[in-house]
Every structure is written in structure tokens, then in C-alpha cells.
Symmetry: C2
Subunit: 340 residues, 2 copies
DNA sequence: TTGTAGGCGTTATCAG
DNA sequence: CTGATAACGCCTACAA
């Protein structure tokens, strides 16, 4: 097969009759290299099969060109889409992305490794499902961090916010405008006082309050996670307890999907008997029966902003690095289809 | 915030009153270190906030601990699930995974970067959708490669195979056993003579042949890709052309999902009018209406095998590295639900 | 069981 | 515009 021999810059330099310094300049597109020299060097590089050793560069420069994207679970469509978007955005800036599932079904004992990974990266984009103290501690590792959530605690990480509360308010308002009065909220998550699910519930309550409708806690269904099966379970619970409903605000499209499934299994028509609205606008939501009305959180913009912020923190000039906490709100959009 | 000062092994050594060598031994869990010394070193490490510089280690040892997972598109559930599984498997072996979408909607001009990435990794797991010459060339970069497909060409990469042809045969046989006689095959992809979609079509034809049913090319629908929208388009095409069908073998669950959607929109009942079977067993397929009968390709096993093979090629002793081409077939399973 | 010394491939500094 | 030289932080013979 291929070589045991490692071709280095020095080797290339010898063949091209220049110094290693010049080879480095060529490889890094340094401006002031004679055209002639540049060509000679590239020829040597290609003919010798040389390739840059990024470990060496990293050691010398003190950075790796890698950022970590920490998401709960790649098998959830929202996070898969987000990862894809972040990788694309990072690529534009010449960064590599190490995806790290933090709460995947397949990973349980990753804590140990966590400590190591930070050494491999120049920055972290962290996407929390819930915010417990331990995870937050893990973030504070001496490299820039951008968190995809509302700001929390006394930490001063940068944030790119999904407007969970406002979007949830919008979704609920829409159901109200369609005449729903018994609206269930599905997806309050875990035992946290903060995090996306708490915000989404708050938005739901805001809308009810504005409409003068009293809160009925039986309509607020907790779930173990945000998978489809949780949506099924939530609706079953409502039906079992004979809680009357004419609308469902699901905190993710998967929950909505599961909810619609369970409703239809129980002989309810969507949207006639029960209107359903989701959150995320995953690709699949437009192919459900009926197609799902949902909130589009603008994933590409979120990803691009997160990467841009991180990039400026890591590689920007001093003035950028020293800037105070950056907080951006991403715009969202109500996508109306047939489920509500 | 945190430090400008970089703590090195030498610093730790000084504080712990040992040599850098000993610190290295401790960090790397070398066996022969006195308990007392070990503790002293760890204390120093923790109190000083030292962390290992992986670039330096990589430079010294000639490897990075990173493998690349090249998949077409993270937004496709199959590849998201696969990535999750590969990351989990890699974690068990202490490897980091750089996910690289090769044909994502969001990435078009990544060719240029491709050359660079190989320098950052010790090995590649490559998951092809189609096999064109250019992509194959790109693979041959001097580090071990494991390909998730049937072997091809004259290259001697290692392979972990999904049994596309056999599984597709099984799926089609099942529809036949349920009485279908006009079975459409949806998802022949691109203009290639090789690749998963070609194999799946072959399996479909095998089954028809075995059953003595003549091939009708109008039933074999090409698609641009394997997204839900392609499933919709394929069925619409069949219906528009008034091609009679009573069954659909879709080459992915997403195609099946789109197909069911289009069928139901056209007033057809699934499975009574048209039975539908998918391929992949994504989580969502059990929540469709009706729940989707499909093929489970055993993603966890595929991921684990691919990582294991790569690991032995990279870090194994010489005898393992020199072994000839490794080819493994992953088992699959027919999952029967209500769509067929 | 631990210390010493040297180099892995790059890039930055400093000349020229 | 290009050359020499010195680090970057770690690992590993070799020695003790």
C-alpha cells in the first residue's frame, strides 16, 4: 500500500530547492512568494505526496481547528439537523466539528471522557436539554463556549437563543385563534426549573393568561424525554384520565407526531376533534397525516451565529475576545399546515 | 476567567517533586508508579488545572485519536442513527469522531477541504450512497478505510456490508406472501451501476423472478435521492401514469413515509389497497399511520464492527495491520407492523 | 520505580 | 522574498 515514510516539509524543501519556511508559506497561502517558487513547491508537494501534519501545526500554534458540538442525542431529528447545520457553518470557517452526544440512549458513562475532549478543541457549542449544575460545571473548561439556550445562572457564556417562550406563546395563540379552549401542553421535561421545556410551558401559560383562560394543571403533561414514544404516552395518559382536550401544543415535532398517532388510534380526528401543533419544523413534519403545523426555529441561522461567535472568540483579535457576553435571539416562524 | 498561562507536564512535575516522565506515566495510567507518587501527581494536576496537550501527544506518537465518519447527509435519519452509533462505539475505544457530510443539502463545495481532513484523522469510515470514481479516489489517502457497503472495484478496503440484496429480497418476498402481485420498487438512485440502491433493486428482482412474476420496468421508479419528498414524487408519478400497484418496496423508511403519504392523499388505503414496506427501521417508522413494516439493518452492530476493524488496523499489532481485506456481513431482520 | 535527553513537524523570530 | 534556528509539549529509549 502506501508509505511507511513520512514526507515532511523539510523533504519537500530539499526537492524544491527552498527552505522549509518557504514551503510553509506556500502551504499557508502566504502572499509574498514568487510565482515561480510557489509552483516549484506545489509540484514537489504533489509528486511526493506530502501532506501537512496538523498535530505539529496545532502544537506550534496552540490551537487545533476543532470545535466540539455537544448535543443531547443525534437520533433526535432536531439535533441531527442542527449538527448538519453547524458542520456546514464550521466548514465555511475552516473548522472541524467533533460531535458529542451528551444524553444519547447509546451513551451513559461518557463523563470520564469529557475531561479529555476539551483538550482536543478550541471551543464548544453546547446545546442543553436541561440545565443541571454538573453539566454547567463541565462547560467551564477554559475555552470559549457558546450555549444554545437562554442565559442562565451567573455564568457569562455567550448565548444564541431560540425564543422558546415567545414561540410557544405564538403556537398557543394560534390554537386559541382556531377556537381551541382545552389545550394540552406536552413535553415539560425532567425536574428542572430552567431549560427549554420550562420556557415553552411558560409561553403556553402566557397565551392562556392573555386569553383569560384559567390554567388547568391536568393539561400540562410531563414527559421523560422528547421522543415520539413520549408523545404517545402523554396523550394516552390524558385520554385514560378522561381529561377533555381540543388542542395540543407539543414541545417538539416528535412529541406531536406521537400525540397525533395516539389520538388517531383512539379514534379522534386531527384537527377536527383535536388540533395539534408542534415545534422544530423537521422535514418529516410535512409528511405526517395530516401535515403538521409547527414552529420553525431557523436552525441554519442559529448554527451560523453560534459558529461565528465562537470563531471570533477563538481567532478574533483581542478586542473581539474581550467583548462582554454576547446574546443573540434567533427569529422563528409559525408554519401553518393542516394539523391545526 | 481562566489562564493565559499554559500549564505543562514540566510545571506539574516541579510541583509534585517528580520528573516529567513520571507525570506522563501517571496521566497514561502506566502500571508501575508508586501509589504515593501517583496521588501526589494527581493532586498537583488537579490543583494546577493541568490538561494534556493532545496536539503534542499526537505529534510525538504519530496519531491523533480521531477517525472520520463520512456520511452523505446527517439530516437523513438513517445516517443520524448511524453516526450516533459510530460515536458511541468509538467512545468505547477511546476514539473521537469527526462527522463529515459528503452530500448534504447544506454542503456543496467541500471537495477542497477534503484533502485537509485526512491529516487530522487516523482512519475513515465511509458510507457511500453511490460509488463514483472520484469519491473512491478521495478515499485512498494513506490511512485505513472501512467502507460500509459491498466491496467494489479493485480496491482492497475493508468492508462492513449491509446485506442490501438479501434484505430487499426478503422484503419483496414478504409482500408477495401477502398476495401482492403488482409491486413497485422505489428508490433506484442516480446513474450508477453500483451502490446500495442497485443492490436493493436486484433483490427486488430476485424475488419477482423466484415467484415467476415478470419484471415491469414501469414499476421501478428512480428517485433523485432518498428523502420523503422523493417517495411522494415517485408514487405521484405511478398514479399519474395509471400504473396499477398493490404493493410498494421503498428503499428507505423515508421513501416509504412519502409513499404512504401520497397514497393516502390519493385516497388509497394502506395496506388494503397498497401494502408498503420500508428499509432502515428508523424510530419514526413505528409511529406512522399505519406503523411501517420494514427491514432493520442492525445499525449498532454495523457501527461496532466498523470501528473495531478500523481500530485494529490503526492501533493493532503488525499482524493485524497486515491482514488481508476484511469483509463482514451484518445480519438484518424483517420487522412486521401494519403497513404490509 | 523514576530521571535525563532528544526529537516528532510546524511556524515564528530574526536576519539577510 | 527567503534562510537559519529555536521553540511548542509530549513520549520514550536509555540509564540509574
Amino acid at each position: 500500500m502506501s508509505g511507511v515514510e513520512r514526507v515532511t516539509m523539510k523533504d519537500v524543501a530539499k526537492v524544491a530547492h527552498v527552505s522549509p519556511r518557504t514551503v510553509s508559506n506556500v502551504v499557508n497561502d502566504y502572499e509574498y512568494v514568487k510565482e515561480d517558487t510557489r509552483k516549484r513547491v506545489w509540484d514537489a508537494i504533489n509528486s511526493m505526496g506530502y501532506s501537512l501534519n496538523l498535530s505539529a501545526r496545532g502544537l506550534r500554534q496552540g490551537n487545533t481547528g476543532i470545535i466540539i458540538l455537544a448535543v443531547p442525542d443525534l437520533t433526535m431529528p432536531y439535533f441531527a439537523d442542527l449538527s448538519d447545520a453547524v458542520i456546514a457553518a464550521a466548514q465555511k470557517r475552516g473548522l472541524y466539528v467533533l460531535v458529542e452526544p451528551t444524553a444519547s440512549n447509546r451513551n451513559r458513562e461518557r463523563e470520564a471522557l469529557h475531561g479529555m475532549r476539551k483538550n482536543m478543541a478550541d471551543g464548544i457549542i453546547y446545546c442543553p436539554l436541561e440545565l443541571n449544575r454538573k453539566e454547567i460545571e463541565l462547560l467551564d473548561v477554559g475555552i470559549p463556549v457558546t450555549v444554545l439556550s437562554e442565559p442562565f445562572g451567573d455564568r457569562h457564556f455567550d448565548h444564541v437563543m431560540i425564543q422558546n417562550r415567545e414561540a410557544s406563546l405564538t403556537a398557543t395563540e394560534y390554537l386559541l385563534s382556531r377556537g381551541c379552549r382545552r389545550i394540552a401542553a406536552i413535553g415539560l421535561y425532567g425536574g428542572q426549573r430552567q431549560g427549554p421545556s420550562v420556557e415553552r410551558l411558560a409561553g403556553y401559560r402566557d397565551a392562556l393568561k392573555q386569553a383569560g383562560i384559567p390554567i388547568d394543571e391536568r393539561l400540562e403533561v410531563r414527559t421523560d424525554s422528547w421522543h415520539r414514544s413520549d408523545g404517545v404516552a402523554a396523550v394516552r395518559k390524558l385520554l385514560d384520565q378522561s381529561v377533555e382536550i381540543d388542542g395540543v401544543v407539543a414541545f417538539t415535532d416528535q412529541l406531536a407526531e406521537g400525540a397525533m398517532f395516539a389520538l388517531q388510534m383512539a379514534g379522534k380526528k386531527v384537527p377536527d376533534d383535536v388540533a395539534v401543533i408542534g415545534f422544530d419544523n423537521n422535514d418529516e413534519s410535512q409528511y405526517l397525516m395530516p401535515p403538521l403545523t409547527t414552529i420553525d426555529p431557523g436552525i441554519d441561522k442559529i448554527a451560523a451565529q453560534a459558529v461565528d461567535i465562537l470563531h471570533s472568540r477563538i481567532y478574533g483579535d483581542e478586542s473581539e475576545k474581550e467583548k462582554g457576553q454576547i446574546i443573540k435571539k434567533a427569529p422563528f416562524e409559525l408554519i401553518i399546515r393542516q394539523s391545526a
